[in-house]
């Protein structure tokens, strides 16, 4: 039986009234959880696990998948409106989304994000159905040298977001890299920049760095200028996407999954790096490059679509190999085991009803989420009509709650405020914030892969270029870097 036939059976399972109800409950819960910063979908699924013990596994997993995708949808809402990312995959959405919201195009940004999620999730799930076994085999072949090559590529791409002043851009990147260094070194167990504090041993959560630099930094900056500023509330524009905007966004929506899906499927991919790569790509390809940083809709559409497709990619590794590539997938795997189901290569054969029901429910969940989120966009956008002093007070409150919720530690709130002060200083001296965030995300990942690659090769540098994949990536990179030089030479 082909996967198409199995998928139809899956729809049969997922469309039963009871399972539809669980899917709806899941997406609602997921959206609510995504909107609140700090409480991620992983925590939500883990907390619900004992509650769903009595359910049959199919229903439970349909609900978990709803929470997972719903969290992805909801995470970008606060990111766009309040500059407060609810989770790390939504960090990039704040960069273009928030300026859009401030200039009165909040509902367009939200709609672009919602449709981006829908498109990314749909395409990602289709790819999941068609390619799951193939991708899974390839994913296993990706090793540390390959990851490191991708990271180097990402670092090269960073130069395009450094802003007008290279020195300031690099300074900002270094601030991010330093924040990323904090914590216990995983290879040796050595403490770095922890000042003997146990609370810092696990490093600083990316969400705290992003919320601190974006939301707190911004709120302090606004507070410092409020008396001089006009103090007018944000204008509210048209509620829907216009034709011109649609023309600008349809390509990013379709391109996002191409970047996001493979990253989700590989074991150490995650959702942050593809969103960032998608952002850089859209910036390169856009005809409105000057608008980037001031509210370019492509910068919302592409990354959001990539984030959603990477969520689908995650399920490939989880369902076909029993490999969790994100925290949510790890919790869902634990859930499989609690139900006495062994996730792994035999899962598709042993539990076809469960797997295909789950996949079908992803399609249904996505439609539900779009129907839920599109009409909500203008409603959410009206939040911004709240006078600025109250609005920013609210942002500070939510940011603090979110930071506390990440680990339940008061220390995190202090760290948040300190990073917020750094953010204020960066704005004061014209340092762009984006490179710092990217440094905090990429730095630790790149370091880990570099050291892992060298450890596996027992210290030999050839360990970095001993795979065809890594050689290809370095080759492409060299071409990209040499291209402008070659063109100049010809002239």
């Amino acid at each position: 039986m082909g996967s198409f036939g199995s998928l139809l059976d899956g729809f049969g399972t997922a469309l039963s009234p009871l399972n539809l109800m669980w899917a709806a409950l899941g997406v609602l819960l997921g959206t609510a959880i995504g909107v609140l910063p700090g409480i991620g979908p992983a925590m939500a699924v883990a907390l619900l696990l004992p509650v769903t013990y009595g359910l049959d596994p199919t229903a439970a997993f349909i609900m978990f998948a709803g929470i997972y995708y719903g969290g992805m949808f909801g995470g970008s809402t606060t990111s766009i409106l309040l500059n407060t990312p609810g989770e790390s995959a939504a960090v990039i959405a704040a960069i273009e989304g928030n300026p859009m919201a401030k200039s009165g195009r909040g509902s367009q940004a939200l709609a672009a994000a919602a449709i981006g999620h829908f498109a990314g999730g749909m395409i990602g799930t289709v790819l999941l159905v068609l390619l799951a076994p193939t991708v899974a085999k390839l994913a296993v072949d990706i090793g540390a040298p390959d990851y490191f090559a991708i990271m180097v590529l990402a670092f090269v791409a960073v130069t395009s977001v450094l802003g007008a002043s290279r020195v300031r851009g690099f300074a900002s990147l270094l601030i991010g890299l330093t924040l990323g260094l904090v914590g216990l070194d995983q290879m040796t167990g050595q403490q770095r920049l922890t000042f003997g504090s146990l609370q810092l041993a696990d490093g600083i959560d990316v969400v705290i760095v992003a919320v601190g630099l974006f939301a707190i930094g911004e709120a302090l900056w606004v507070a410092a200028h409020l008396r001089r500023g006009s103090g007018t509330a944000v204008p509210v524009g048209r509620p829907w996407l216009g034709r011109a905007e649609l023309r600008r966004t349809w390509k990013p929506w379709l391109r996002g999954p191409l970047i996001g899906f493979p990253f989700g499927a590989i074991p150490a991919g995650g959702a942050e790096i593809p969103t960032f790569l998608s952002y850089v790509t859209e910036k390169r390809l856009s005809r409105h490059r000057k608008e980037f940083g001031k509210g370019a809709i492509e910068g919302v559409a592409g990354p959001e679509s990539a984030a959603s497709a990477s969520a689908a990619g995650t399920l490939v590794a989880m369902l076909t190999l029993g490999l969790p590539t994100t925290a949510v997938a790890a919790v869902m795997l634990a859930a499989f085991q609690q139900y006495g189901i062994q996730p792994g290569p035999l899962l598709f054969e042993r539990e076809p009803d469960l797997v295909w029901g789950l996949i079908a429910s992803l399609f249904i969940g996505m439609v539900m989420l779009l129907v839920l989120n599109l009409p909500l966009a203008p409603v959410w956008a009206r939040l911004l009509r709240i006078p600025r002093p109250y609005l920013y007070a609210g942002i500070l409150f939510f940011a603090a709650v979110g930071a506390y919720a990440v680990g339940g530690e008061p220390v995190d709130v202090v760290i948040l405020l300190l990073i917020g002060l750094v953010g204020l200083m960066m704005r004061r001296y014209g340092l762009p914030v984006l490179p710092a965030i990217i440094g905090a995300i990429l730095g630790p990942a790149a370091e880990q892969q570099l050291r892992r690659a060298l450890q596996i090769s027992d210290g030999s540098l050839t360990g970095l270029v001993n795979t065809p994949f890594s050689v290809t990536v370095y080759g492409v990179m060299a071409l990209l870097l040499a291209w402008p030089l070659l063109r100049r030479l010809r002239r």
Binding site: A46, L198, D202, I386, Y390, D458
Partner: protein, 327 residues
């Protein structure tokens, strides 16, 4: 709705929906094993090993009617030592317990934590799980003896993958194996991964020569033939798998990843026995036996003082290994 009222109403809505579940308080009369207001701390993130143990134990204890309401909460950080510090600071609190395991023993050393397990009250050891030694299908090692011979010759050229960072269970297992094999732990080429899942990909892809981790995520891969199980590190073989124990394969060492329960220091005699009795009756309940079976955990119940002596021995063993590694 006017925008001025929108934010407050949304906040109120969010508060009504979210705060009650966060603040569930326990009630119930003090009868038998019931400890009203008992809180069970998990020193790592939701979904981790200690978390699943704690939530399963709490649910089973409630279903078996031993307690009315246990609140499970997470205080993750620094391999469990943040939670341990909190536990130790709650001196005399008879309504708090912490789920923990071998990983915390190592984390205390690598983090130079101010509070150690010797500062807390041991309640009981609950479960244990052996580690396994696996190679990919295409590996040239068919038996553990072949692997061992090559490992002895040149430890640096055989990278070992494990699912935990330095000081964690998957790190200790290969180090103990190396020591028993006469290989200096320092020359072991250990590559840490973020949990058993990430390690699995790397073993399947042949990135490391062999992997050492818990059986959990690997069962299916072994059954389908993608991975070859060379040995198990426990005292006995694992049912359903033909692989030998390390002792049978000629290496005089035994290793299991255990989990247990600790309580704050300074408890009164009655508070301590009450907690121990609760765990003892939980262990005897059919609900707990069913959970053991479901999760593939082995019963390793060891009560109070005996568990304390076991902890001291484990601490010694971990400290020796880490010292030889120069940490």
């Amino acid at each position: 709705m006017r925008p001025r009222t929108l934010l407050p109403s949304l906040t109120a809505l969010a508060a009504t929906l979210l705060i009650p579940p966060l603040l569930t308080t326990s009630s119930g009369a003090e009868t038998g094993t019931n400890i009203p207001g008992l809180r069970f701390m998990v020193p790592n993130t939701p979904g981790g090993g200690y978390d699943i143990t704690a939530r399963t134990a709490a649910k089973n204890a409630e279903d078996a009617g031993l307690v009315h309401n246990i609140e499970v909460f997470n205080l993750p950080g620094a391999g469990g030592t943040v939670g341990l510090s909190r536990l130790v600071s709650e001196r005399g609190n008879g309504k708090l317990a912490m789920s923990m395991g071998l990983g915390v023993v190592g984390a205390v050393h690598t983090n130079h934590a101010p509070s150690t397990l010797a500062d807390a009250t041991p309640v009981a050891r609950l479960t244990e799980e052996p580690d396994i030694v696996v190679v990919p299908k295409k590996s040239r090692y068919r038996t553990f003896a072949q692997l061992l011979a090559d490992w002895r010759k040149d430890p640096g050229s055989l990278p070992v993958g494990g699912g935990s960072s330095a000081g964690g269970p998957d790190h200790l297992a290969p180090m103990l194996m190396a020591r028993a094999a006469g290989i200096a732990p320092r020359s072991v080429n250990y590559v840490p991964y973020d949990g058993g899942g990430e390690l699995l990909a790397s073993v399947l892809g042949g990135k490391v020569a062999f992997g050492v981790s818990g059986l959990g995520e690997y069962r299916d891969q072994i059954e389908s033939g993608e991975l070859r199980l060379l040995a198990v590190t426990g005292k006995e073989r694992v049912r359903g798998f033909p692989a030998p124990t390390l002792r049978e394969a000629g290496l005089d060492v035994e290793f299991t990843n255990w989990r247990g329960v600790m309580a704050p220091p300074g408890l009164s005699e009655s508070e301590r026995t009450r907690l121990e009795r609760l765990v003892r009756e939980l262990r005897g309940s059919p609900q707990w036996r069913e959970s053991l079976r479901r999760n593939g955990w082995d019963d390793a119940y060891l009560p109070g003082a005996r568990y304390g002596r076991f902890l001291a021995r484990e601490d010694q063993r971990v400290a020796t290994v880490l010292k030889e590694l120069g940490r």
